[in-house]
Amino acid sequence: MKNNMSFMGAVVAVFVSCAAPSMAYADEQGKEAIEDLQKATQDSAQGATSKAAKELDEAEKHLIKENKAHPYAEPMKQISGEAPKAEADRKAFRELKKAEKDAKKKVAGDAADEAKKALSDVKEKEKAP
């Protein structure tokens, strides 16, 4: 019985220790997404929409990498307040894609507004439990 308990403890420890490096990598990806979105917001506002489109594309890739490095349980149904991280993530992708589309169409004002919203959503996601 005691040996079984020790074995179980070791299995849990392996799981937990394996999770640690991926957490740091996920955090790094989240930070890089925020940086790209900040740049995209500024560049869109200044009319540099081609540059902003590339930054938005990079931000999206970082968000995807962050989720791959540290996935969260996607709720089967959306109930207000129950899954704040998933809710913010979904909004972030949506705004980010709108911004990217507008940046590619060279609609600078809308792209800047949407990039700003995406930035706010990503920050919300990073803060969410």
Binding site: A19, M23, K68, P71, Y72, A73, K77, K85
Partner: protein, 364 residues
């Protein structure tokens, strides 16, 4: 129709409050939290936990002479995050169902009115244990056990029928960019402590963003209740019900969207026509919803029900949402409409109806 069920009357559907400590979804530490939801209004009668015999969770919180306004406690659960693998989250207590697409909480639905599948063919809540685990960033597994119910683990309470346990589970897939989501979920188990007939349902929901402005949802439900209907020979027979819903939403502006829902719902074995006083029968059209006083209508023959709903969703500010909708319903095989607001047990005299309804949702 349930929920918005009063004609030409102002209703306060939901005064909704919740207290929550959401648990973390990542990290190396254990985390503990929970949530408690309170609802007062005309929607509450449809979401209470009925169990059988009726439990004491939220059924008797109002005086019996109050006709439409009730109190429900649709969620009361403790949650635990265990840092195992990618992180396991557990809920223990009373919680909303994972089945289907539409939900009880008003701000989370596009339309004010609800689909037949949600109103009559799915559970609202469960009592038990539910776990969720992300296999990776695309796949999530959900599973658990539920009890306290007379209808296969649906809408159960805490203190009756605890000897019957049903399984609940689902698997969800989301694309990397969140543009496509597919969920399949279901419950299965004995009908109740005293009825070992199987009671099951599965629900498939597919959501896809064709563009960032054009969104589509497909839903298919299929329920099975062994021995829940009555055959021509007067003996119990297996019942089934199923439906298909299609939703399409288009964002006209940042704060204005238009949506269309088309639906078909089939009550293939006239479960609704079973004796509503028989606790083991008629749950497809919900013991809960029957006690709530309004149902699709009892003593109807096997029927198909159809509806198209056209609606707007206007969000002039973060705390305000307005949802007018125009709906046309029709049925073949029965005449369930225009029953004068009568309670279950009285069919109507029309095979179709047009309904305009609107609501205002204020979040604070």
């Amino acid at each position: 129709m349930t929920f918005g069920d009063r004609s030409a009357e102002l209703q306060m559907n939901q005064l909704y409050l919740y207290l929550e400590r959401a648990v973390t979804t990542s990290g190396d530490d254990w985390d503990f939290g929970g949530r408690f939801d309170f609802m007062y209004g005309t929607d509450a009668g449809f979401t209470q936990a009925y169990g059988a015999p009726q439990g004491n969770w939220d059924l008797h919180l109002n005086a019996s002479n109050i006709k439409f306004y009730r109190t429900a406690l649709p969620q009361a659960y403790a949650s635990i995050y265990a840092p195992i693998g990618n992180g396991l989250t557990l809920k223990l207590g009373h919680f909303y169902t994972i089945i289907g697409y539409e939900v009880v909480t008003a701000p989370d639905n596009f339309f004010y009115s609800h689909a037949y599948t949600m109103q009559y063919g799915e559970p609202f809540t469960h009592t038990g244990l539910l776990g969720s685990y992300p296999i990776d960033s695309n796949w999530t597994l959900t599973g658990g056990v539920v009890t306290g119910s007379v209808v296969g683990g649906w809408d159960g309470g805490f203190n009756q029928g605890l000897g019957a346990w049903s399984g609940i589970g689902g698997v969800g897939w989301a694309s990397d960019d969140q543009d496509t989501k597919v969920n399949i979920s279901g419950t299965t188990g004995p009908t109740s402590e005293t009825n070992s007939n199987q009671w099951s349902i599965y629900s498939l929901v597919i959501q896809h963003n064709f563009t960032q402005d054009l969104h589509y949802v497909f839903q298919h439900d299929h329920g099975f209740a062994d021995g829940a209907s009555v055959g021509a020979n007067g003996k119990p027979q297996d019942a089934t019900w199923y439906g298909i819903n299609n939703y399409i939403f288009y964002d006209l502006m940042d704060d204005l969207s238009v949506g269309l829902r088309g639906e078909w719902f089939r009550d293939d074995d006239a479960v609704v026509s079973s004796d509503p006083t028989g606790a083991n029968f008629g749950r497809v059209f919900s013991i809960g919803r029957q006690v709530g006083g309004v149902g699709l209508g009892s003593f109807l023959p096997a029927s198909s029900f159809y509806a198209f709903t056209l609606g707007l969703n206007w969000k002039p500010s973060k705390w305000l949402m307005v949802r007018p909708n125009l709906r046309y319903d029709w049925a073949d095989g029965s005449r369930p409409f225009n029953n004068g607001g009568a309670s279950v047990g009285y069919a109507g005299d029309r095979g179709d109806q047009i309904l305009f309804s609107t609501d205002v949702v204020i979040t604070f």
